[in-house]
């Protein structure tokens, strides 16, 4: 194989169980986002826009849709000679094989894959973050600092810092302490889960870590703190721009809604850093004579006959007559039939809500997840149903 300067290892194996019904059947990176995208589009497009054309995608949880979606990576122009996208599920070798036990273990089990490209640098990224980033700038920083590890960081509000890996740096941006999700953070400089490693150094660290029975084999929890403690040259790269982890229903909902207001998110219309996707081929969307669409995003193949306000309609969505969709996200091919109201809800792919339903009705006391109602993909809600706000509706099987 060709020698590559820098290859990316994309962690896409997490279950994403905090997304409830949305990830019951598909992996989190494959969940639809902002209408026409899937979450992994952002990381893959960042690679393409950073001229990194060799990407190993580490999958393990319900990977079918993800695998077929990524295919050869041609949708992101990643089907390059000598590179390309490689799906890397757990496998069995001559001695034994096992599931990926953690993010570090996933890379550790694919050392042979990385070695086959013999790269100088390995970029570790995650398939569940929403951001536009040029990794080349980070790589330049890494080289300029003669770093062994560079961690991409952003400054977060102090009250949120304990949700992240936080680090303390000296004046030269060298990290002197790294703490994963500390109860009492001593810094608000948070890790975005984007790292560049010198490959020989990372390989050494992974081999050490794999022998440690106490380790959770996690980059944030184990690898980084240990390397910092050992006094390696670990630097913090300060990323400027929009970045969002969509790990929970609330953050997923919020990040989608922020796309409606481009000032609080990034500009999805900015062609200089386009986000590519492997979209279905559909005709333009049709807006009917009685429809009304306000402050919303609508994708190809939709058929809108009712009212849509502050909402996102992914491709192929049907909105019947007399329907009211407000503050909601309808995932691909969801259907909402006549006279139904959908308020502050996320309707899963190919879910159907029949006539005269009310989804997201005024909640009772103590409603969960900020009152966001979530309906699993392929679920069918019968005529006249009333679903209280803040519920997770799972398909019965």
């Amino acid at each position: 194989m060709h020698k590559q300067k820098c290859i990316a290892m994309l962690l896409a194996g997490g279950q994403g169980s905090r997304l409830g019904p949305l990830t019951r059947n598909i992996a989190k990176p494959a969940v639809s986002f902002s209408g026409k995208y899937r979450i992994i589009d952002f990381s893959l497009s960042n690679c393409a826009n950073s001229d990194i054309n060799t990407v190993g995608v580490l999958t393990q949880y319900k990977p079918f849709l993800l695998n077929s979606y990524i295919a050869q990576g041609s949708a992101w122009d990643l089907d390059a000679p000598g590179g390309g996208v490689h799906i890397l599920p757990p496998y069995v070798g001559e001695n034994e094989g096992s599931w990926y036990k953690g993010t570090a273990d996933a890379v550790s089990q694919n050392i042979e894959f990385v070695d086959s490209y013999n790269p100088a640098y390995v970029l570790i990224i995650s398939g569940d973050h929403i951001y536009k980033m040029n990794y080349n700038k980070m790589l330049e920083f890494h080289k300029q600092k003669r770093a062994e590890i560079t961690v991409s960081t952003l400054t977060v509000p102090w009250e949120e810092a304990s949700r992240f890996g936080v680090m303390t740096c000296d004046d030269n941006a060298k990290i002197i302490r790294f703490a994963e999700k500390p109860a009492v953070p001593e810094s608000n400089l948070a890790s975005m889960g984007v790292y560049i490693f010198n490959w020989p150094m990372l390989k050494q660290a992974l081999l050490e870590d794999s022998k440690d029975p106490q380790s959770d084999h996690d980059f944030g929890k184990n690898i980084l703190p240990r390397q910092v403690k050992q006094g390696k040259r670990v630097f913090a790269y300060n990323f400027q721009g929009y970045w969002k982890d969509v790990g929970t229903i609330e953050s997923y909902y919020q990040a989608n809604m922020e796309c409606l207001n481009m000032e609080s998110s990034f500009d999805i219309f900015d062609a200089r850093h386009n986000i590519y996707s492997n979209e279905d081929l559909l005709p333009p969307h049709y807006v009917g004579p009685t429809a009304r669409i306000e402050n919303s995003i609508v994708c190809n193949g939709c058929n809108v006959l009712g009212e849509v306000t502050n909402s996102i309609l992914a491709q192929g969505v049907f909105v019947g007559e007399g329907v009211c969709i407000r503050d909601s996200i309808l995932l691909p091919y969801a259907k909402v039939y006549d006279q139904t109201s959908v308020l502050k809800s996320i309707v899963g792919e190919r879910a159907e809500i029949k006539e005269r339903c009310l989804v997201g009705a005024e909640p009772g006391t103590g409603s969960e997840q900020e009152g966001i109602t979530v309906i699993e993909d392929h679920h069918l809600i019968p005529k006249g149903s009333v679903i209280e706000a803040g519920q997770n509706i799972y398909r019965i099987r």
């Binding site: 081929l281 559909l282 005709p283 333009p284 009917g288 919303s296 995003i297 190809n300």
Partner: protein
Amino acid sequence: MYNTIAILFGNSGFDSLQGLTLEGSIASTSFGGRYRLLDFALSSMVNSGIRTVGLVTPRYYRSILDHLGGGKEWFLDRKAGGLAILPGAIHGLTSHKINFRMRDIEMNIDYLHKNYAENVLISRCNQVFNFNYADALEFHNKKKADITLIFKIPEKPTDRHGRIHLFLDEAQRVNEIKKEDSEELKVPYFINQLIIRRKVLSDIIHGYKSLETVDLIQPIAENIQALKVYGYPFSGYLQTIHTVQDYFERNMDLLDHEIREKLFWGSDRIHTKVRDNPPTKYGFEARVRNSLISSGCRIEGNVENSIISRCVLIEPGAQIRNSIIMQRCTIRAGTILEYVVMDKLTEVKAGNVLKGNRDNPLVMKKTAV
């Protein structure tokens, strides 16, 4: 269907749609928001399993080649077969009467000779339809036909001008091909799509070499008794675009739910170049009714009974009614457009009023306003 290759005539001329196609071709003219007219013929071919398509280029072929690229979106970026560019023969000359100029094939005769396929499917680029030829090809093989002409039986007595009529016997064999207008309503007419044995086509081209500027249909008509010519019916939605009026009406047809279902939502899709645009964003002021809207638009104004192509910007207070707006136009605040066909990349400055009427839509050429 690998035993069939195709020739797609992208050099249909006609009246150049009042200048819309002057620097392009009818084949690469934007249609239905996100498509180009040739997408319909080309998609029908590849959906029928054909993976070798030769495109006869029009005089101005930059836009058509830009659209097709390597043919990836039509599954034509292949080692075996794929998309072949066949330079059109007589640059600059266009004629209403000639559908398939034999010189265009003669110039590219290697394309025919280097293939081993049994049949050649021939079609043009000025029709809106979605047809899977699988059954027609099976019919052609079963009948051991030399040529199978695809026909349609007219639904209405109007619009018969210039049609080529076919007279068939009970076994669907074509006994006569007549160019004159027929008085009878139910006479099937040829829809400019045919299947011909590669060897027969090659022989005809060779035999008529001195008359090479004529239409391929002429030698077929002259040798109708010697050749085994059959007719195969097509009964779906098919419309031909000759004039701006046709272009306007056929676009507006797409506002009809049933026509959209037939063209776009069957098991065979119409493929087109993928641009990876963002979705369309509606603002707080947007009022859109009975319209077809493509991706990448930003809409703040009023749109009614219209077709909006990709990446169109419509500012608050702009009013667009009964119009076709092609890709990357900018419609500034306070403009009024009625019965307008707006060429791509055009900016309409604030406050402009442009009106045509249904029989005579106003065609605004690129960057004209």
